[in-house]
Amino acid sequence: MFRKKECVAMLLAGGQGSRLYALTEKTAKPAVSFGGKYRIIDFPLSNCINSGIDTVGVLTQYQPLVLNDYIGNGLPWDLDRTYGGVKILPPYQGKKGADWYSGTANAIYQNLEFIDRYDPEYVIILSGDHIYKMDYSKMIDFHKKMKSDCTIAVIDVPIEEASRFGILSVNEDGQIYKFSEKPKEPDSTKASMGIYVFSKKKLFDYLIADEKDEKSSNDFGKNIIPAMLAAKERMFAYPFSGYWKDVGTISSLWEANMDLLGSDPALVLNDESWRIFSRHEPNAPQYIGADAVIENSSVTAGCDIYGTVKNSVLGSGVKVMKGAVVCDSVIFDNCVIEEGAQVNYTILDSNVRIGKNATVGVDKNTARGVTVIGSGIAIADNSCIADDQMISEVKEG
């Protein structure tokens, strides 16, 4: 059953996220936890439904088990639909052979048939790497108004950081005349957010042409956008202002979590007008013990706090026992910090147990980097884990 849709979203969720190391060992990056009760992919999915886009293809490839489970039938995002809804699109075997997704453009190319079934006017390409709240419908309106063939969302970045991004140079009315990937000497501060709106026909034409070019690496940033620019297609930059953060590294993931805290948080999630939806476990409320100390922290359902929690973000079902101290840390679901343990400047993946009187990480001001403990690891009583460590398997003995 297919109904015509004005816009179909394609969400690239196949990346490995290798710079998140232990956190993406068994999980695709979009399924990494964020902000206590969310996963990174909740942001683009919630943005879609809040923007009125109810047909979303999610392209998966790397370690999809957790991600597939998490998305399920799309119920938490109201994307369990008879017409449209969320669909997982893994690489598949065809008559002529089977191919992994060789690049972002190839992933979409292999699913052109999926898009065509809904006969959309526009296709929005999203990625599962960013934390932001954005109304895509405004971007699509902009695309229509400019009679654009391809619209790229851009955000102003400080000039000294511009060389880390794909930089767009635009003329006065926003038309793009130059795109440079990570330029050494950037001539603009408009960074691509990796969000593209294409008119369907142009997208199809360029993807099909790109696929025929054997030298192409089948990537939007490297191939499709430059090819469209070279052909002088109408391409516009859609300016976005607001919170946007790439959480592709351990330090940026930690920072983005900290952006939820403080007296005037950079990122507000307690926002009825733009709710971020997520899949819920039926947890009990949080219990704060008689001697607990909690300062400047975000705590989720199912937590039991008897110790001290400062400047930290706690996922659901976390237990902080008596005398334990958690500082400047991000704790994922169902971790247990036993009595007297100290956790400083650390990210704990889900189901980690920190033994009694163990010390993990050091004070943020003296640490060389964030310590990361991988999912399901138990740190022995009285043991000591230094700063800037990455523990992804338990050492015997």
Binding site: S263, I276, E281, P285, I288, I294, E295, N296, V299, T300
Partner: protein, 378 residues
């Protein structure tokens, strides 16, 4: 043995007029994030029951809003699932069966259709003032083993509990758990240390027979007119429930019961039981933010709150804001209560959407909590 469920949504509304003025007993908020119906409903779902009828009486908008399609309890099903059963009244008749029901028995007569159209072997009945995490599979297993027609879940009550007599029945049983006597609870005449929880398992065809017979004879009271008359058959059994149980009988008892949630036994025996979670409507609240200067002790707190002040011995529902310098003690603040800066609260029960402006000072007593009704601006 296949089982369906039936829940009485309104039956104890009169106990708690403050909180049921605009809602059913079933939709009375309790324990930070739950409504009372979440307890019987989760007990049924956790025991594998996938077909539940909810008998409503009046005021059931909030109940329907809470239940929705039933998907939060995994009860949005093609076959079975959850069905709200509103009163069945026609304008052109005046027989007992077609007036708005007043008793448990009349309510059952009103849902004869649900009972007869079901195909399950037996039906579990439950009220909504049964705050417990009971493994109904055990009750059903005993029911099957003994070959009972009816198995009533009983519990011992504490001397401190105060009941309205029409609300509670004393139950006596012999050493084989066969019930020998059922009578209205009387504080002055001690009959048994056990009372009925009103949770019971009944063979469906047998129940249908009882209901049809009662309708034709004009019976009114399920315990007095039906149950006590069939005890001599020796097929009505008691299941002695020993676990954590709360029953709400008044605003004072609502307050006391809520405060019991702060105890360790409530968390291990009610809300955090491994494999038997209490399901509720998902609101997608953000996590709770404890701001600089907040001080929270011995409290049960839902998601979606922002706390800048002091909170002690309190139950805080979703979306509550507690301002700077505010002190909230021994209080229950329902969904989206706004507490301004430097407010002092002690023994307050604030219904949904209450706004308490900066600097206000409200205080009740544990035996007479200060109640602020829904949407009030103080």
């Amino acid at each position: 043995m296949t089982v369906a469920g039936l829940i009485f949504a309104n039956i104890h509304d009169a106990c708690l007029p403050e909180l049921t003025a605009r809602r059913t007993m079933a939709s009375v908020p309790f324990g930070c994030r739950y409504r009372l119906i979440d307890f019987p409903l989760s007990n049924m779902v956790n025991s594998g029951i996938s077909k539940v009828g909810v008998i409503a009486h009046d005021n059931y908008q909030s109940l329907m809003d809470h239940i929705g399609t039933g998907k939060d309890w995994d009860l949005a099903r093609r076959s079975g699932g959850i069905k709200i059963l509103p009163p069945f009244i026609t304008s052109y008749t005046s027989t007992t069966a077609q007036r708005l029901y007043t008793t448990r028995l009349e309510a059952l007569i009103g849902v004869t259709n649900f009972i007869s159209k079901s195909t399950e072997d037996c039906i579990v009945l439950s009220d909504c003032d049964t705050i417990c995490n009971i493994n109904l599979s055990d009750v059903i297993a005993q029911h099957e083993r003994t070959g009972a027609d009816i198995t009533i879940v009983t519990r011992e009550f504490e001397p401190s509990e105060k009941f309205r007599p029409e609300d509670v029945y004393s139950v006596s049983s012999d050493s084989n758990n066969v019930i020998t006597d059922i009578s209205a609870y009387n504080a002055n005449e001690y009959r048994s240390s056990e009372i009925s929880t009103n949770i019971m398992v009944i063979n469906r065809i047998y129940l249908l027979g009882l209901v049809n017979d009662a309708a034709s004879r004009g019976y009114i009271d399920f315990y007095r007119d039906v149950l006590s008359k069939i005890l001599q058959r020796g097929t009505v059994y008691a299941y002695h429930y020993k676990g954590f149980f709360l029953k709400i009988t008044s605003l004072e008892s609502y307050f006391a019961s809520s405060m019991k949630l702060l105890g360790e036994d409530a968390r291990t025996g009610l809300t955090s039981v491994e494999g038997r979670p209490i399901h509720t409507k998902v609101r997608n609240s953000a996590p709770t933010l404890y701001k600089e200067g907040s001080k929270v002790a011995n409290s049960y707190i839902a998601d979606g709150c922002e706390i800048e002040g002091v909170v002690e011995n309190s139950i805080i529902f979703r979306g509550v804001k507690v301002g700077k310098g505010a002190v909230v003690r021994n209080s229950i603040l329902l969904q989206d209560t706004f507490v301004g800066d430097n407010v002092q609260l002690n023994c307050v029960v604030a219904d949904k959407d209450v706004v308490i402006k900066d600097g206000r000072n409200l205080s009740g007593h544990t035996t007479m909590p200060f109640f602020v009704s829904k949407g009030t601006i103080v």
